[in-house]
Structure formats: structure tokens, C-alpha cells
């Protein structure tokens, strides 16, 4: 609950409906715990500056083991001030506690009035604090409170057996940890399982071939790591660290999860072919790092015996072409679920679609022309009102006599997209002219109901 929410007198755990009744215009967003955790991790990274031993205490805490580091910052109090001030500068409000035991520090940060507990004062400092300061579950706290036991002193001074009988050992363990009777270590933050491999060179490399060779080697290594976890990369980045500190980062995308080193390397070849000039090795690269930025699950497959390399040829080609010319330039035609002919097909980047994703929509509509004009062409016609077929029509200055016709197929526009509210309904006809041409015409606007003078268009040509 932040200050703004407290000012409105909102309550933790109140029903949303009740709150909304109080403030009808209140805007609600769902909690984003992942983002909160990411922020906490970012802060943990930042805290590396104080000590390498930083532990996460989600949702909102960090544990720093500053044993042996405090003097670097001018003592414990100064260290604590430094953390809080610097965080405050970044707009983060932090409460810190520093004590002999992690448990006591935790309690001080959240419930304490003293921020730095001098050595030996742990027990007395903790005594008046509420039980919640012991990091015990709320249910136990509630039960203890019902029995009238609320502060740490209430249980610290009590015979231990009845407490253990009712609340188990964990309560006493937490108490002992806070008081320092039992050791507790801070678990340093685990680095996320990542797919990063790098190679450092004693002598900087300059040649493109060496560079690509290195990438292939790295890809092989990366592939092994990923294979163990049944992963493949969709997005890869090669970071080229130049000796002068400049870093070139080259990214490639794959249409399917990938871990074949050859194919990975080839994608980088394509990419470098496009941007080659931008990567000037200068005096050479001394570190090359290859990382998989986005990975997806793929099953571990046995490679060897029969190599069904052909199955991958098309995606391989798509990846290479897309990498070379840009993702948007290589598209696949995908049917769309709409009645409107010109929107019935969309061009989607080929890398983003898979052939088996394209379930052909079961149309029971009459056939569509082979070639649909992007822009329907106006024609002049003679036709029967209200919805008769054209008898003849003039298209591109040529008059066509109608020999056979089927229709109309009436297609109304999608009213929910129609901002102005007067998109006209179309009556489509399949027409065969005496000359043998087969075209798709439509009348725009229903005669009488929508317009007194419908216009006519030619929208496509059948074979």
C-alpha cells in the first residue's frame, strides 16, 4: 500500500467491488510479480558494489552479508546510510537494518526503531518487537495472538516445550536464528541459468574467417549446453569486444529453435554479409561472446544415421533469406478469417509462421478470382435494378458483352471497423464475357436501401 492508496483509506484485502463502490473511477492494474522480482534482482545486482554476498529475500527484501566489508565504507552506520541514500536517489525507498544475525537485521529493517544494532544487544533489541518480526507464518502469528502472545519477549521468556508442542520446531528455530543461537547463512543469488559462451584471445583476432570460426566453435559449445536442457535458440547474439573497448553486437533470428552450429554460423555469415562494413575490427577483438537471448524447448534428437537434413532446408532457406533481407521482406500468404475479399489473405513474415499453423479456413463461399486487384477498378455497366447482373460493362475503355453470369454474392462491410458508419454493401458477380474473359465484378451499394446510384467495380480476374 503506497501513500496515495493510504490517503484514500483503502484497505489491504478489501474486495475490489467494495473499493470501486467507494471510488467509482479508480483504475485497477493487476500486480506484476515478475516485474517486481526483476526489479529486485536488478537492485541485487547493483548491490554487488558492497559485497559479493547478496541474497534475494522476495518479494521485497535483500540480504547483504557485509562481514568484513563495512570498513571499506567507513563503518556499519556509514555503509547503511550509503545504501539507503543511493537507493533513494534512484527513487527507491529502502529501510535497512544491520545486526549480528540475519534474523535480527531482517526484523530491524521492518519493525525496528534502531537501525544498527550494536554487537551483543540483539536479545534486548528484539524483545519488544511483534512476532511478525521473527519471519514466521501469519497463521502461527494469529494463533499466538489469540493466546495473548504478541511480542518476541512473550515467547522468548516462555518454557519451550509447550510452544514446540503447539507450533512445531520452526517457531523456535526462527527465534534461535534471530537471537544467534542457531546459525543462518545468506544464500547468494544464483546467476540465472544462461546460455552464454565466450572465448578470450591472448592475441586479438582481426580476420573475418577467424571470427566466424570462433563463432562456430562457440555455437558448438552453446549447442551442447542447450541440448542438455532440451532447448534451442530463436534469437542469438554475438558480442565482439574490440581491444579499444568498443563492442559490436550482432543479432540473428531463427524461424525454429536452433542449435546446429553450422546453421548458426551460416546465419551470422548472412548477417555479416549485410552489415559487414559496420563491424570494423580495428586492432582486433580480444573477446567474442555468443549468447542465446531467446530459447524454446526442442526435444533432444538423435543426429546421425539417417540425416533428414531436407526437412530443415526450407526453414533454413527462410532463415537465411530473412536474415539477409530483413524479416519483413520474406512473407507467407496466410488466410484470414473474414468475409471481405481483399482482407481474406495477409502477408505474415515467414519466420513467424509455420506451415502447419496455417489451417485452411473451411470456406463454403463460391470461388475467388486467381488474381485479386489491390485496388478495384471502376467500370461502367448496364444492369437491372435492384440487384440484377450486368448485361455489359466497359473496363479499361473496352466494352465487354456478358455471356454468362452467376450471383449476386452479397457481402456487407464489417460495421465494427466502419468509423463513419456508411460503408456500402457489395454484390459480387462472376461474369464471363463473350470474348471469353472471366472477371469478378461488384456493385457497390444496395440500390434504394443504401444509395440511389450504385457504382460498379472490377475486383479480379479468373484464369
Amino acid at each position: 500500500m503506497n501513500d496515495a492508496a493510504s490517503a484514500l483509506n483503502l484497505k489491504h484485502g478489501a474486495a475490489l467491488a467494495d473499493t470501486r463502490a467507494m471510488y467509482p473511477s479508480i483504475v485497477v492494474h493487476n500486480a506484476d510479480r515478475a516485474a517486481d522480482l526483476a526489479l529486485l534482482e536488478a537492485i541485487a545486482d547493483w548491490c554487488d558494489r558492497y559485497t559479493p554476498l547478496v541474497g534475494l529475500d522476495p518479494p521485497d527484501g535483500l540480504m547483504l552479508d557485509v562481514g568484513g566489508c563495512a570498513h571499506l565504507f567507513g563503518g556499519e552506520a556509514a555503509l547503511k546510510d550509503d545504501v539507503v541514500t543511493r537507493l533513494a536517489r534512484q527513487g527507491l525507498q529502502a529501510c535497512a537494518g544491520l545486526a549480528d544475525t540475519p534474523g535480527c537485521a531482517w526484523a530491524m529493517a521492518r519493525y525496528g526503531e534502531t537501525w544498527v544494532v550494536p554487537p551483543g544487544a540483539t536479545r534486548n533489541t528484539l524483545r519488544p518487537l511483534p512476532l511478525a518480526a521473527l519471519r514466521i507464518d501469519p497463521e502461527t502469528i494469529a494463533t499466538l495472538a489469540q493466546a495473548g502472545l504478541k511480542s518476541i519477549a512473550d515467547i522468548a521468556d516462555r518454557p519451550r516445550a509447550p510452544l514446540a508442542a503447539r507450533f512445531g520446531q520452526s517457531l523456535l528455530q526462527r527465534l534461535d536464528q534471530a537471537l544467534g543461537h542457531e546459525d543462518e547463512s545468506i544464500t547468494p543469488r544464483q546467476p540465472l541459468p544462461s546460455y552464454v559462451v565466450e572465448r578470450r584471445f591472448a592475441e586479438p583476432i582481426v580476420l573475418e574467417d577467424d571470427m566466424l570460426g570462433t563463432i562456430e566453435h562457440l555455437a558448438e559449445e552453446l549447442g551442447r549446453v542447450m541440448e542438455r536442457r532440451e532447448k534451442g535458440a530463436r534469437l542469438l547474439q554475438a558480442a565482439l569486444f574490440r581491444t579499444d573497448g568498443k563492442v559490436h553486437r550482432i543479432e540473428v533470428t531463427a524461424g525454429q529453435p536452433l542449435r546446429d552450429p553450422k546453421r548458426i554460423q551460416r546465419l551470422f555469415v548472412e548477417r555479416l554479409g549485410v552489415i559487414g562494413d559496420e563491424c570494423d575490427p580495428g586492432f582486433g577483438y580480444d573477446v567474442i561472446r555468443l549468447s542465446a537471448l531467446a530459447v524454446e524447448h526442442i526435444d533432444a534428437v538423435q543426429s546421425g544415421f539417417t540425416d533428414d537434413y531436407h526437412a530443415n532446408e526450407l526453414t533454413d532457406l527462410i532463415d537465411r533469406l530473412s536474415t539477409r533481407f530483413g524479416m519483413q521482406r520474406l512473407t507467407r500468404q496466410t488466410p484470414c478469417n473474414t468475409h471481405i475479399p481483399e482482407f481474406a489473405v495477409a502477408n505474415i513474415p515467414a519466420q513467424l509462421t509455420r506451415p502447419d499453423d496455417i489451417a485452411l479456413i473451411d470456406r463454403d463461399t463460391p470461388p475467388r478470382p486467381l488474381h485479386l486487384f489491390a485496388r478495384p477498378e471502376p467500370i461502367e455497366t448496364v444492369a437491372e435494378v435492384p440487384d440484377g447482373p450486368p448485361a455489359r460493362f466497359r473496363w479499361r475503355h473496352v466494352l465487354h458483352e456478358v455471356a454468362a453470369v452467376e450471383g449476386p454474392e452479397r457481402i456487407a462491410m464489417e460495421w465494427w471497423r466502419d468509423e463513419e458508419g456508411h460503408a456500402l454493401t457489395r454484390d459480387y458477380f462472376r461474369v464471363e464475357s463473350r470474348q471469353g474473359g472471366r472477371v469478378w465484378l461488384y456493385r457497390e451499394g444496395l440500390y434504394g436501401r443504401e444509395t440511389p446510384t450504385p457504382r460498379w467495380f472490377l475486383h479480379g480476374v479468373f484464369a
Binding site: 493510504s6 483509506n9 484497505k11 484485502g13 478489501a14 467491488a17 470501486r20 463502490a21 467507494m22 471510488y23 467509482p24 473511477s25 485497477v28 519493525y111 524483545r127 519488544p128 511483534p130 511478525a132 502469528i141 494463533t143 495472538a145 489469540q146 493466546a147 495473548g148 502472545l149 504478541k150 511480542s151 519477549a153 512473550d154 518454557p159 516445550a161 509447550p162 508442542a165 503447539r166 507450533f167 512445531g168 520446531q169 484470414c336 478469417n337 473474414t338 468475409h339 479456413i361 470456406r363 463454403d364 463460391p366 440487384d387 452467376e406 450471383g407 449476386p408 454474392e409 452479397r410 457481402i411 456487407a412 460495421w415 465494427w416 471497423r417 468509423e419 454493401t425 454484390d427 459480387y428
Partner: protein, 1096 residues
């Protein structure tokens, strides 16, 4: 022949498929000049009665039918029965399909149709992809099974592009099968503009957003009703297909009117030649019981007249059935009472269906049964709410599921549900939808206007939002699904499933028909309402306790006009009394001063949205308070209005005025009433208005009087309350008030044991009992049963609160009320029964209780938390500590770690800190929802005194118009109708204060009014005949003060801090003092205190 009739019509009773109301379709068909129309909803006839009524109104030929949708590959087939017998077969076919599956669905196979095919006119609707062979085969099969001239192939020209080609195919198929082709337009809505709504309901049905609906939607707007000329043009190549519609229309000879003669079942006449004879015999016999000294002349005359009418109209079986049901209830000891127009007849009084002596009140059954209208008698019977299911199952058992069924209720889209569903189709976020829905109160039938949306903080210029709002408004009133009526039973002599399809209800063991109350009324089908009423449960318990404890026998028919009871009612001392316990009723009582039974009848009817909207309440009160002679516009109206001092209050009066005053024929008056009740009024209401006001002025009535009468009827439309209902309710008012007046202990126990019911929570009921001198004791494991019980105690009359001192001679109670374990929150009835069973001479320890009952420690914890171990000398905390320490060997909560821990017997004394009194009260509220120790407010009274806040019991001493500040827990917030005021009831240790907030004040203090548990209200005091209100000007949230209850020196002491450090509670709770941290684990404090109940 030049005419066209449309048969393939899907109305909005094919839920979420059709997009027009039956009435709209019929009206449109009439306007287009069609020669007739048939309805064919998907496996349902739920909409046909409304269509039928509209077709009668618009004078157009109507053929009820069904679109049979099969679960095998069979194409849809429209079925239109040609006569009554065929209709019965059709509804049986549907019943068969519906009884097989869950509620709302229907599973039919083609083979099923053949069993019921005789007499059906069938149209086969070809699917989009035609298989000529299969279609030909199907037509052949149908033709040989049904009569050879009653099968058609339906053809539609829907502008699909290949219409002509398809039509050729159909012609060929039809020719080969020797079946004629019939033209239809496969209608989904009455006019092309409805395409948008049809698209929306399609999306709702498929749960998709409209942008991705694509080809789920129709390609164009052609599926509307089309006139003859247009259809002829479309079918110009085969004009015969148009002509066939006329041939089919002529073959559909069945009209729903024929169901009107459906006879009522007549088995319940044991040994008599005719039902009428049985009825006469039973009535006479009952009459002797009711009037041991002979029937008064007036009653004798009325009974004869009623019996004559009943015989003439053949309604005897109906009365006998109700009689039978009531007899069953009597036998099982289930309390019941009838109401409704026919219920207030002498017959029903003699049969024991009702308890209102027609001799004691005005004869008010003018609407009894009217010969000219052939309107079916209307009897609703209320049963105890806990035992109604027994009655329902008895009915199914006795009359079988083929012959008895519950009426349906059509659940319609209302403001909120409409915007929710439509909003989802438009992809509005869940949050946006909640905000939009939140702009409406509960069940509103109004939509969200652009204006309201803007006020809720939306961009009114947003096209998508505007469209969603418009369409949501259009959707309001559309049926969404069928549900079961609360208790309307239809029972027939012949099979009910040959009248209307029967389907499974959502509840187990219930079967429901497809028609709702209005449909049944329109067709004159008889129905008995078997309703549930909490007060009857309470009264049955009261009568049992009276008998058991005081040896006094009392029944519902004891109508002794007891002055002490009326005196209590006049003081508005009516908490817990049926109907007249609400704030609105209580503020009316001291003004109306009911002194006889009929006054209660009026009291019940007057505080209703109807009379309030019709603005009739104040004129009545004025006349009642100043008995000036009332002048009546005419003698005819005097007869109608005299008993209500010239002010129409009852539905019957409004109808009579329409007949007598405005010259309506009774049938018209009834249609008027119905027209007002339906939601989408199809333009007819204005013509009624003209006719009504015109009729009255033509008969020389004042225009103003005519207008006000009209307003009255309009108000009744949706909330009509008939006098006959009011009379039956008044009887329960009297019965419950009598018990409360003389035996407050019995009344409180019965009420508490019947919870949940009524207006007040148990805390108020207990407090009210205490004020009436009843000592109340807490639940205890050695004393309490599941239910509250009565123990020997003191004379209640010596302990009356001064406010009720006048009742000294009325109160006979001598018992103490022992709260039952049902008051312990979260404790189960089964567990309580175990305790009752094994208790014997009592339990001597927590351990003893645990070992003997084998209850789960979690259940025992609830008892401990509720402080139910006092008889063992254990405080709440000690009991909890003991329960927690029970060794749970073998229990599934057993913790392996504990195995080696010392046994409880060797434990040192727990020596827990005593619980401070304020905390005790909080814990009482938390686990019992009430406290017998003290009122929470009493702990903060000194603070309130310092602020000059007036205690509620001092309010009567304060002069009218003075500005006062009161404070209390918020018990109830109420906003009657769409009223301009909010009522708030506050409670402190001395009593209740009533606060009125006008809407602007409410809006200003909205968060406080709706969020706070404890408020202080400053405003002007109004005192009208002892009814005190405070008109709020300022409201302050004082909830934080309640934390005072948690505060006490003892607890602080244990932490070794000096009391000098005690924080100032008045300060902001976030001031950083130690108390804040202490309170952290009590942060749910506010959730413990009653949140206040909201009523609309």
C-alpha cells in the same frame, strides 16, 4: 394466389441466435402484410406464447412450431403440428430430447422424430453443403413416415452467390422425391438493422471478440422478414414455392388457444362423483370447523356464490389440488399459508388454505375469479423455507413428472449483464467492464448512457465504446436463458409434456417446463405457486417453543386483535417482525398507527415501490392523520376507494378504476396490467394511456385525478401488490408481532434458529431481546445445542429497557435464551449434533470433549475461539491453548516432530496474559458476530463525549431542527429503488440512529459511506411523530478509533515499556509509535466489525 407466409423464423428465444423479440417479429410481419407466420426456435417453444399473444393482438395468423436440430448429421427440420394431438407429440419429442441431457440442452436423433411424426408438417432445411442423395433419401423417409402431403424442402435465397445454382439443385431433389419446394428466408431478425445485434449475440455465443469472429458471422444483412413482393421476386423462377407457404399455412390448424381447455387433474376427490361435489363437501365441512357457531350470513352468501362460480368454470379440481398439497404439509408439520386473489376466498378459508377470516376484514376478493375473463384462479402458498423441498418432491411424487412441472423464469439481459457480455465482444478490458457495470445499481434495466460513461471517466468520443454501449442497451430485455421459477407448479390431468416440453432444471430432482408465468396466464393454464418463506419457519418454531415451554397453543388463525400487540407495532418496536421491520416500514408505523387488522394490510402494501412511485403514500397519510371527510369523484369510485380513504393503494383498485372509471372492459384492464409488466413495451402503452385518461375525463373525472390514477397504475406495473397478498402477509405480521410482544424469548430463539432471514443480523436480534428483558447467555459446550434454547430464568418484565417500560403487562417471558452452537462461526451442525449426543452429564475438560466426540481439533478451536468453554472455567485463551496442545497422535495434522515432545499432562501452567475487555468484545464479534459483554462503542464513549457526539438514546430529547453529531457502527445502507436518498442505520451501545443522505451528500462522502465501519454523522435532526432521522451534512470515517479496543496497559506492560510511552490513539495510526507495530498483527480488526449490509 398472391400472398406469402414466413415459416423459418428464429426469435431471440433461440438464445444468442435470433436478434428480435417475438413481438417485434409479429409486428413486422403484420406491417409487411404477410398472410401469416410460423415460429421455429431451436428445439424450443419458449417464445411461442409471446408470439401467439402478439399475433392475436395484431390479428395475423400464427403457426407455432420448432426447429428440430439433431445431434446426428440430419439437417435441421422445421416442425409445425397440424392439430392438438400433433402438438402434444412434438412437445413430447422435445421433452424426450431434453430429459436426456443437462439443463438447457436437447439431444435428438432422427429416429426419435419418427416416433412422434404423425400430424407434423415438416420443412427440411438443407445444409450449406448439399448431398443430393442423402437429402433425397431423408425426404423419402419423412414422406413415408408422415403423411405424404406434409413434407417440404425449404429453399432460401440468401445472396450467397450460388443461389440460383442451389435453387436448381433443390428443384431437382424435390422433384425426384415428389416433395414440393417451399420458400423461406431463414429469418434471424425482423429488420436488416438488427444485423449488428445478431453479429454481437453470435460473438457472445461463441465467446469471441468481434474482430476475430470473421466467418462465424453472416456475410450480409439479408436474414430479415421480407414482404411478399420481394420474396416473389427472389423466387420468380419457381412461384410455386411461394404458393406452397399458403398451402402449409392452411394445414397448420393448431392454435395455442386449444391448450386453454387443458383440463385440470381430478383425482383428489376420494369417493365423490365429481370434483365439484368433493369441493362442496370439503368446504362445508371446513366451514363447520371454522365457524362452530354457524356461518355468518355474509360469509354463507359469499361461499355459495363462490362455489357456484367454481362449478361453472370447472375450477374445483384446482382447489382440490391445492387442498391436497396443504393437507400434506399439515400432516408433515410444515407451516404454510396461501395468498393470491383466489386464496382470499371463503372456500380457501374453509379448506384451511388461508388463515385470514373473510368475516374479519372487508370482503376483498373482487378479483377472485372472473367469469367473463376466464382468468385462472391465482393461489400462491408459502411454506417454511427450510422444508419447501419436501413439498415439491411430494408434488412430483404424487402427480408424476409427466404431469407436474415447475414454471420457467426467463432470465433476461439487464443493464449489467448486457454491458458485460457486449463489452467482452468489443474486447473491452475486465476493468473497464467492471467500471461500466458499476455505474448501475444491481438489477437496473437501464443501460449505460454516454453521459454516465463520461462521468465514470471514459472518453465519450470513443466510437468503439459508444457502439458497445448502444448495442448493450439494445440487448437489454433479451432472454438469456431459462431458469426455474421460484415455485410455480403446473399440474395437469392429461400429460403435461403434451402441453409444453419439460426439461431438467439446474437443481437435482427438479423438472421445469419451458413457459413462464406470463405465458401460462396468457393461455389460462392453472398454476400453484409453492413458495418459500423464512418467517413461516420462524413461526413454526415459535409455536413449538410456546407449546413446549409455556404450554400455550397458538396458530396462524388466531386473529384476536390484541391491543398490546398493536401498541407495540405503533411504537415501531418491530425488529424481526415480518414485513414491517425495514427502516421504511418502521418510519411509517408511528404515523399510520395501525390499530386493527386492516391497517396492517394497508401498512404492508403502502411501503412498496408501486405506491411510492405513484406518489400515493402521502395523501393517504395526510387523510389518515387528519380525519377530514373525503369527497369521492363518484359513488362508483367511492365503493372502490372508500376503505383506503380515497387513495388507490392496491392493484385491484387500480384495475377496478380502469374498468369503472375509464370504461375498460375487464379483459382490457388485464391486458393493460400485462402490458405494463413486460419490459420492452411495444408502443401499445401510449394507446392505453390515451384510452384511460380519455375514458376518465369523458366520464367527468378531473384530469388531474385521472393522471394521478394513471401514474399509480404505471407504478404498479412492475411492482404491483394486490390487496389479497397484503391481507395474507398482514396475517403473518400479526402472528409474528404477537409472539414478539408477549414472548420475546421465544421469538428471539425462533428467529435465531431460522437464520439467515429477514433484515437484521443476529447481533441486533439478540440486543432487541435483551432490551425486552430477556437474559441471553453465551454458547457453551456443556449447555448449548445446535439451536438456541430456552432455560429457566427470570421474569422478563422486571428487566425491560426503559424504552419498553410500557410493555410491562404484556411480556410473559420467564426464560433465559441460551445461544446455540449455530452462532459459532464456522462450526458445523453435524459436529454440534455429535456434542449433543455424547454430552451426557457434561464434559470435564477439553481433552474429555475431544476424546469423547472425536471432533477435529480445528472444530474445537472454533469453539474455543468463541469462548464456549466457560463452564469448564477456561478463558478463551486458556481453552485455545489447551486445544492447541491436544496430542494429535494418529491425526492427519500430526507432526512427526512432536512424537518426542513431552505429554501435555506434564506441561507447566500456561500463564497466558488475560485478554483485555475490548479485545474480548472484538473476539466475540469475530467468532459469534455479536457480543454479550459490551458494545464496542462503549469503549470509545469517552472520546466521543469529548467530541460532543450524542448517544443515540438521547436523541428523543433533542429538539427538531437542531444540529447534532452521532456516531455508530454502520448496520445497513439502503437505497430504495432508484431513490434520491440513501438510508443509513447506525448503532451505538444505546440504540439505533437513522441517517438520511441526499444524493449530493452521498456522492461527496461516497468512500466514507460505503467503506467505513464506524462513522460520525453531523446533520439536522428531524423528529416526526417520534420517528427520528438525521439528515446528514457531514460524515467522518472514525473506523480508526476502533483500534482503541485493542489497546490496553496490561499488554504494553509485558513488553516492559512504561505507560508514559502510550501513543496518542487519536494521532494518525502511521505516526510510527509502538502501537502501530503492535497493531500490525491485528490489521484485520476492521474486517471483524460488521461491514454493514447493503440493500437496494
Amino acid at each position: 394466389m398472391s400472398a406469402y407466409a414466413e415459416f423459418a423464423i428464429t426469435s431471440n428465444f433461440s438464445f444468442l441466435r435470433g436478434a428480435s423479440e417475438p413481438e417485434e417479429l409479429v409486428a413486422q410481419a403484420r406491417m409487411l402484410g404477410l398472410s401469416g407466420l410460423g415460429f421455429a426456435d431451436r428445439n424450443s417453444v419458449a417464445g411461442v406464447v409471446r408470439a401467439h399473444v402478439a399475433a392475436e393482438e395484431f390479428k395475423i395468423k400464427f403457426a407455432p412450431g420448432v426447429r428440430l436440430v439433431f445431434s446426428d448429421a440430419t439437417p435441421d427440420i422445421l416442425a409445425f403440428p397440424q392439430d392438438r394431438a400433433a402438438w402434444g407429440r412434438l412437445t413430447r419429442l422435445l421433452s424426450l430430447g431434453k430429459r436426456r441431457v443437462e439443463k438447457g440442452e436437447c439431444l435428438l436423433k432422427l429416429a426419435d422424430l419418427f416416433d412422434f411424426i404423425a400430424g407434423q408438417n415438416l420443412i427440411v432445411m438443407p445444409p450449406t453443403q448439399i448431398d443430393s442423395r442423402a437429402l433425397g433419401l431423408l425426404l423419402g423417409q419423412l414422406k413415408s413416415a408422415a403423411s405424404s402431403r406434409s413434407v417440404w424442402l425449404g429453399a432460401s435465397m440468401l445472396y450467397r452467390g450460388d443461389d440460383a445454382r442451389r435453387l436448381n439443385q433443390f428443384t431437382e431433389i424435390a422433384r425426384d422425391a415428389f416433395v414440393p419446394l417451399i420458400a423461406t428466408n431463414d429469418v434471424l431478425y425482423h429488420a436488416p438493422e438488427r444485423r449488428t445485434l445478431q453479429d454481437v449475440v453470435t460473438c457472445i455465443r461463441n465467446k469471441v471478440v468481434i474482430d476475430s469472429a470473421g466467418q462465424l458471422l453472416e456475410a450480409n444483412a439479408e436474414r430479415h422478414l421480407k414482404p411478399h413482393e420481394e420474396m416473389s421476386r427472389l423466387f420468380r423462377t419457381i412461384p410455386d414455392a411461394i404458393a406452397e407457404t399458403q398451402r402449409l399455412l392452411a394445414k397448420c390448424r393448431f392454435s395455442l388457444e386449444e391448450l386453454r381447455v387443458t383440463e385440470y387433474q381430478e383425482e383428489k376427490r376420494s369417493g365423490f362423483a365429481t370434483p365439484q361435489e368433493a369441493l362442496v363437501a370439503f368446504a362445508e365441512e371446513g366451514g363447520k370447523r371454522r365457524y362452530p357457531n354457524g356461518m355468518p350470513e355474509k360469509v354463507r352468501h359469499a361461499l355459495d356464490e363462490e362455489l357456484r362460480l367454481t362449478g361453472e368454470l370447472n375450477y374445483a379440481p384446482f382447489f382440490l389440488t391445492v387442498h391436497d398439497i396443504v393437507q400434506f404439509a399439515r400432516k408433515e408439520g410444515i407451516l404454510c399459508q396461501g395468498r393470491g386473489s383466489a386464496a382470499n376466498s371463503v372456500i380457501c378459508y374453509c379448506l384451511g388454505i388461508t388463515e385470514v377470516d373473510p368475516n374479519a376484514i372487508e370482503l376483498l376478493f373482487e378479483r377472485f375469479v372472473s367469469a367473463e375473463r376466464r382468468e385462472p384462479p391465482d393461489i400462491d402458498v408459502d411454506f417454511e423455507h427450510e422444508r419447501r423441498e419436501e413439498v415439491i418432491q411430494y408434488i412430483y411424487r404424487t402427480y408424476t413428472r409427466e404431469r407436474a412441472g415447475l414454471a420457467a423464469t426467463v432470465i433476461c439481459y439487464r443493464g449489467r449483464s448486457a454491458i458485460r457480455d457486449v463489452g467482452k465482444v468489443f474486447g473491452l478490458s475486465e476493468d473497464t467492464l467492471s467500471r461500466l457495470a458499476g455505474t448501475m445499481w444491481g438489477w437496473s434495466m437501464e443501460g449505460v448512457t454516454e453521459e454516465r460513461a463520461r462521468r465514470a471517466g471514459f472518453d465519450a468520443g470513443d466510437r468503439r465504446l459508444a457502439r458497445a454501449l448502444t448495442l448493450a442497451r439494445e440487448l437489454i430485455g433479451f432472454p438469456r436463458h431459462l431458469s426455474q421459477h421460484v415455485g410455480g407448479f403446473v399440474i395437469t390431468r392429461s400429460r403435461l409434456d403434451e402441453v409444453v416440453p419439460i426439461e431438467n432444471a439446474a437443481m437435482d430432482d427438479r423438472t421445469v417446463i419451458e413457459w413462464e408465468k406470463n405465458d401460462l396466464e396468457a393461455l389460462g393454464l392453472l398454476k400453484v405457486d409453492v413458495l418459500a418463506l423464512g418467517m413461516l419457519s420462524c413461526l413454526r418454531r415459535s409455536f413449538a417453543l410456546l407449546e413446549e415451554t409455556y404450554g400455550e397453543t397458538r396458530t396462524l388463525s388466531d386473529q384476536d386483535e390484541d391491543p398490546q400487540t398493536y401498541a407495540m407495532i405503533q411504537r415501531a418496536d418491530t425488529i424481526g417482525v415480518f414485513q414491517i421491520e425495514s427502516r421504511a416500514q418502521m418510519s411509517m408505523l408511528p404515523r399510520l398507527k395501525p390499530a386493527k387488522f386492516y391497517d396492517l394490510v394497508i401498512e404492508v402494501a403502502i411501503v412498496r415501490p408501486g405506491p411510492i412511485q405513484g406518489n400515493m403514500v402521502h395523501p393517504y397519510l395526510r387523510r389518515r392523520q387528519n380525519p377530514e371527510p373525503v369527497s369521492y369523484p363518484s359513488p362508483a369510485l367511492k365503493a372502490i376507494l372508500e376503505r383506503t380513504l380515497g387513495v388507490p393503494l392496491f392493484q385491484e383498485q387500480a384495475m377496478r378504476i380502469a374498468i369503472v372509471g375509464a370504461g375498460f372492459v375487464p379483459g382490457e384492464a388485464d391486458r393493460l396490467r400485462r402490458a405494463m409488466a413486460t419490459f420492452k413495451r411495444i408502443g401499445t402503452i401510449d394507446s392505453f394511456r390515451e384510452k384511460f385518461i380519455g375514458g376518465m375525463t369523458a366520464r367527468n373525472y378531473d384530469l388531474k385525478f385521472a393522471t394521478s390514477c394513471w401514474n399509480q397504475i404505471e407504478g404498479f406495473g412492475s411492482y404491483g401488490f394486490p390487496e389479497s397478498h397484503a391481507a395474507s402477509f398482514a396475517n403473518l405480521v400479526y402472528a409474528s408481532a404477537w409472539v414478539k410482544c408477549h414472548y420475546p424469548d421465544v421469538f428471539a430463539a425462533a428467529l435465531l434458529n431460522s437464520q439467515p432471514m429477514g433484515f437484521y443480523a443476529s447481533a441486533q436480534l439478540v440486543r432487541d431481546a435483551e432490551e425486552h428483558g430477556v437474559e441471553v447467555r453465551p454458547p457453551d459446550i456443556n449447555r448449548s445445542n445446535w439451536d438456541c434454547t430456552l432455560e429457566n430464568g427470570a421474569m422478563a418484565r422486571d428487566r425491560l429497557h426503559p424504552r419498553h417500560a410500557g410493555m410491562k403487562n404484556a411480556v410473559h417471558s420467564t426464560c433465559t435464551l441460551r445461544l446455540g452452537l449455530r452462532q459459532v462461526s464456522g462450526f458445523s451442525e453435524d459436529d454440534a449434533k455429535v456434542i449433543e449426543a455424547v454430552r451426557g452429564d457434561g464434559f470435564d475438560s477439553v481433552r474429555d470433549l475431544w476424546l469423547r466426540t472425536r471432533l477435529k481439533p480445528a472444530s474445537l478451536e472454533r469453539l474455543a475461539a468463541a469462548d464456549a468453554f466457560a463452564s469448564l472455567g477456561l478463558t478463551r485463551r486458556e481453552a485455545l491453548w489447551a486445544v492447541k496442545g491436544l496430542q494429535r497422535a494418529g491425526d492427519k495434522d500430526d507432526l512427526p516432530l512432536l512424537a518426542r515432545v513431552v505429554t501435555p499432562e506434564l506441561e507447566p501452567d500456561a500463564d497466558l496474559p488475560p485478554m483485555p475487555p475490548g479485545r474480548q468484545v472484538i473476539e466475540d464479534y469475530r467468532h459469534l458476530h455479536l457480543s454479550l459483554r459490551a458494545h464496542p462503542i462503549s469503549f470509545i464513549r469517552p472520546d466521543l463525549d469529548r467530541r460532543g457526539i450524542v448517544a443515540h438514546d438521547r436523541l428523543p430529547e433533542i429538539a427538531q431542527g437542531r444540529s447534532v453529531t452521532v456516531a455508530g457502527l454502520v448496520l445497513v445502507r439502503q437505497r430504495p429503488g432508484e431513490g434520491k436518498a440513501i438510508f443509513m442505520t447506525l448503532e451505538d451501545e444505546g440504540g439505533i440512529a437513522n441517517v438520511i443522505l441526499w444524493i449530493p451528500t452521498f456522492e461527496r462522502y461516497r468512500p466514507v459511506v460505503l467503506g467505513a465501519r464506524l462513522v460520525a454523522v453531523t446533520g439536522k435532526l428531524q423528529n416526526e411523530s417520534g420517528v427520528i432521522h438525521i439528515v446528514a451534512e457531514q460524515i467522518e470515517d472514525m473506523t480508526a478509533l476502533l483500534s482503541r479496543l485493542m489497546n490496553d496497559e496490561l499488554e504494553i506492560d509485558t513488553r516492559g515499556k512504561s505507560p508514559g510511552l502510550l501513543p496518542n490513539v487519536k494521532g494518525h495510526p502511521r505516526s510510527g509509535d509502538a502501537l502501530v507495530t503492535l497493531l500490525k498483527d491485528d490489521s484485520d480488526l476492521e474486517t471483524v466489525m460488521p461491514k454493514g449490509r447493503n440493500f437496494h
